[in-house]
Symmetry: C2
Subunit: 119 residues, 2 copies
Amino acid sequence: MIRRQLKDIAPVPVSAGEKTEMQMLISPDEAPHFAMRRFTIHPGGFMPLHTNKVEHEQLVLEGEAEVVIDGATYRVKKDDVVFIPAGVPHSYKTLGDTPFRFLCLVPNLEDEIILVENA
Amino acid sequence: MIRRQLKDIAPVPVSAGEKTEMQMLISPDEAPHFAMRRFTIHPGGFMPLHTNKVEHEQLVLEGEAEVVIDGATYRVKKDDVVFIPAGVPHSYKTLGDTPFRFLCLVPNLEDEIILVENA
């Protein structure tokens, strides 16, 4: 059993992103099937177009961003639910002056981030 | 790819709970490994002590509750992270006048809710 508070979980920089950090809420070492992470992209930050080998189950917690998924652009905000299947190219860019925070859960499987060249 | 808003997802009553409802954010039919659900327990509501055959990965989104996990009592609120392993008895009881809302993710495996007799 685990009980912890978000504020006590140290954020780590995300090298694939700019002004982006990640907190591991429930790690793959702690849970048998999937991991719970929270990402924060600070104002002016972004994550470039990339693919993963695993799917993402996401809930936006705070802020706003322009998200590109499989070539389509969405503007997302608090309480938006997003599912990105494995292998689908996606990117994030913050909008406005507040941090964009979202929960992103992934299965406990090997992943690889591959950057996609923009056309 | 899925993008939807929480407010558009119809809540369904949870028969094992009192004044409790669930919204399916990302269902086991949509995602390959795990499902994302949001539970709301309205003021005065509760879920009695029970076990599941699957683990729970939870994040509290709103409100406060008294949660019993494996015999220990916790007071939880927004931004608390909770991991309940499979088979561990747990219960929820709202505190205060606001709904208690939490995200609860489970693997795509057969589950069964078994109520635990209170001592």
